[in-house]
């Protein structure tokens, strides 16, 4: 399947916007203007390629915290993200209740998730079950890091989806580290994809830095899921170029040489080079995209800094559905 030039440019733009937003978050943190950031740098091709296969607002997504590029692909804006970084009331995920990068927005059927890892995998199975009972052609994409596939919850979720042939895509973003622990301390198998074999569903490992390959692999899995042919595990092999979060120091567990080496396989760089070779992108087009991204992010920071914090009273609700104040709910 050959992807159109427009689609390629749109995906590249999304990766670029996500990367620059992510980089700005690190800068804001260094400047003391935000308290915390967890980065998706190095994951952009995998996340954007997978997200673009979905029908936004029709399909469902149960993400994890390292999914900034995926969320931007699904419709969150730099403004939404910077509002969340600053804990401002109108951030769409939680009204300032959750830490940043804990996503939730209904317009793209992105369900709210927590910080204990792999809980969202089970919700994806449940959504898949509901889809099957409703006999629609929707699918669920759920993401997770490779370390979190050690959790029993992940196995139970995949097992459910396999038993009932649910339309769930279990995407594993294998960035080779769970904070400091390398993959070898998480599993005896060579790939996460192999775990799928024992549970009775197809599993593949692919190069997560190859945007076109990611898109095509997910497109096939989604097509099978829509046709009632069941779930898949797709492991996208990437590299976490940054520390785990702004509170982590990765110098204590991996060499600078290793990180530098992986920077040569930066998905943004690889995608740009490939698309320039194909004539899909030109330096001029990329420069225009850079300027546009900078403008959006500058505006986002300016807007978010001026935006109000929640009133303390907002911390008291909504504990129960009866307490929801509809006019305040950001259903974005």
């Amino acid at each position: 399947m050959e992807l159109s030039a427009d689609l390629k440019r749109e995906m590249f733009w999304t990766m670029l916007l996500a990367r620059r937003t992510d980089e700005r978050a690190w800068a804001l943190h260094r400047q003391g203007r935000i308290a915390f950031h967890v980065s998706a740098i190095g994951h952009e091709a995998a996340q954007v390629g997978a997200a673009f296969v979905l029908k936004r607002g029709h399909d469902w997504v149960a993400p994890y915290y390292r999914d900034l590029a995926m969320m931007i692909a699904l419709g969150q804006t730099p403004r939404d993200f910077v509002l969340a970084l600053m804990g401002k009331r109108e951030e769409p995920n939680s009204g300032g209740r959750q830490m940043p990068s804990h996503w939730s927005f209904r317009s793209a059927n992105v369900i709210s998730h927590s910080a204990p890892v792999a809980t969202q995998s089970v919700h994806a199975a449940g959504i898949g079950l509901a889809i099957k009972l409703h006999k629609t052609d929707q699918v669920v994409l759920t993401t997770i890091g490779e370390g979190s596939t050690s959790q029993g919850e992940w196995y139970e979720a995949v097992n459910w989806a396999a038993i009932h042939r649910l339309p769930v895509i279990f995407m594993v973003e294998n960035n080779q580290y769970a904070i400091s622990s390398p993959k070898e301390k998480q599993m005896a198998v060579k790939t996460v994809a192999e775990k799928a074999c024992g549970l009775g569903l197809p599993g593949v490992q692919i190069d997560g830095n190859n945007l076109e390959l990611v898109y095509q692999t997910f497109a096939e899995a989604v097509a099978r899921a829509r046709a009632g042919e069941g779930p898949s595990v797709i492991e996208t092999l990437v590299y976490r170029i940054t520390p785990h979060s702004s509170d982590d120091d990765d110098r204590s567990y991996r060499s600078r040489e290793e990180v530098e080496e992986h920077k040569h396989r930066d998905p943004l760089l690889l995608t740009r080079n490939q698309f320039e070779r194909q004539g899909v992108l030109t330096p001029k087009v990329v420069d225009e995209m850079e300027a546009r991204a900078k403008g959006l992010i500058d505006e986002a920071v300016q807007y978010a800094e001026a935006a109000p914090y929640p009133d303390v009273e907002e911390g008291t609700y909504p504990v129960y559905a009866e307490d929801i104040r509809e006019k305040e709910v950001n259903r974005g």
Partner: protein, 328 residues
């Protein structure tokens, strides 16, 4: 009106709600052809089919987690945990996820779900088929915790729980499944989640209980009224969280004495919260120390009959506790 057992009333509630609302479905271990190990879902698989009465893998966290996912999609799952003792693998899903979903998404996502679980001892179930687990959940804002003590309430409260837009823990006193009988109205009757009920009005002291212990308290109070002219008021809490503070306080303001009975062990048990409520807001009405009659602080109910009898509050022990408090 029809005379039913507790379990028949529970089954009736699920049947009626599944008939009313196609988004209601049941998921749990052996709930399908087997009809549940206690027969709570008997006949429902035949009536509603395998898509709405789903035999789950033997894995409790995913019974709840899959329920949460389906609820987010817009369905109304009834998740059955075979014994309350087996609910712990699902704690993360209940506490981290179901309870916090509405708050953490600022109301964008809600989890309309019921988790049913038989609880309680006195049935020869030993450590792992006898536990009372309510205190773990009455600590968690975002959850509702309901325990019926009679067939009328079991049906009416379960129907309310299924219609509630929040996660509701519905703990059923399994010893009473076939022991407790009572009238169930023929017409549809919803019993609201929230209000406690004064099941026996009295002047001398107040007894607070729920589930099987409420049944025992009622028997003890009737016996004492007949034989010793002690007029105990019995309050069936029914909804443990959020609790009906007004009914509790009004009762103590009337009688001046409070006894709390539960079979869960004493320390950190649900009775402590009731005692604190009374001490905090009805202190000047008290004529005696607040008393608690609870299971002992051992890990769980032991199996052997004499040990089990030692553990469990009984009509006799409750009778004596009421007598003692009355004499204070």
């Amino acid at each position: 009106m029809a005379d039913k057992t507790l379990i028949e009333a529970i089954r009736q509630a699920m049947d009626e709600e599944m008939e009313r609302d196609p988004s209601v479905f049941i998921v749990g271990e052996d709930v399908g052809k087997r009809g549940g190990v206690f027969r709570a879902t008997q006949g429902l698989y035949e009536k509603y089919g395998p898509e709405r009465v789903i035999d789950s893998p033997l894995a409790e966290l995913s019974i709840v987690g899959v329920g949460i996912g389906a609820a987010l999609y817009g369905m109304h799952p009834i998740c059955e945990i075979q014994f309350a003792d087996f609910i712990y693998p699902a704690m993360n899903q209940i506490i981290s996820e179901a309870a916090k979903m509405c708050y953490r998404s600022n109301g964008v996502w809600t989890v309309p779900m019921v988790i049913r679980a038989p609880y309680g001892g006195g049935i020869g179930g030993g450590l792992y088929h006898s536990q009372s687990v309510e205190a773990f959940f009455t600590h968690i804002p975002g959850l509702k915790v309901v325990i019926p003590s009679n067939p009328r309430d079991a049906r009416g409260l379960l129907k309310s729980a299924i219609r509630d837009p929040n996660p509701v823990l519905f703990f059923e006193p399994k010893k009473g499944y076939r022991l407790i009988r009572g009238e169930v109205p023929a017409e549809e009757t919803l019993v609201p989640i929230g209000p406690a009920e004064i099941s026996r009005a009295g002047r001398d002291l107040s007894v607070f209980a729920y589930g099987m212990m409420h049944e025992y308290c009622l028997q003890a109070a009737e016996k004492l009224a007949r034989e010793e002219s002690i007029d105990a008021e019995v309050v069936d809490l029914r909804t443990l969280y959020p609790v009906d503070r007004e009914t509790i306080l009004a009762s103590v303001q009337k009688t001046g004495k409070a006894l709390i009975v539960h079979e869960d062990n004493l320390t950190g048990g649900y009775g402590a919260e009731i005692a604190a409520t009374i001490a905090g807001d009805a202190f000047t009405y008290l004529d005696a120390p607040i008393r608690r009659l609870c299971g002992p602080d051992v890990p769980a109910v032991p199996f052997s009959h004499p040990l089990q009898d030692w553990f469990m509050p009984s009509v006799e022990k409750i009778t004596q506790a009421i007598r003692d408090l009355h004499a204070y």
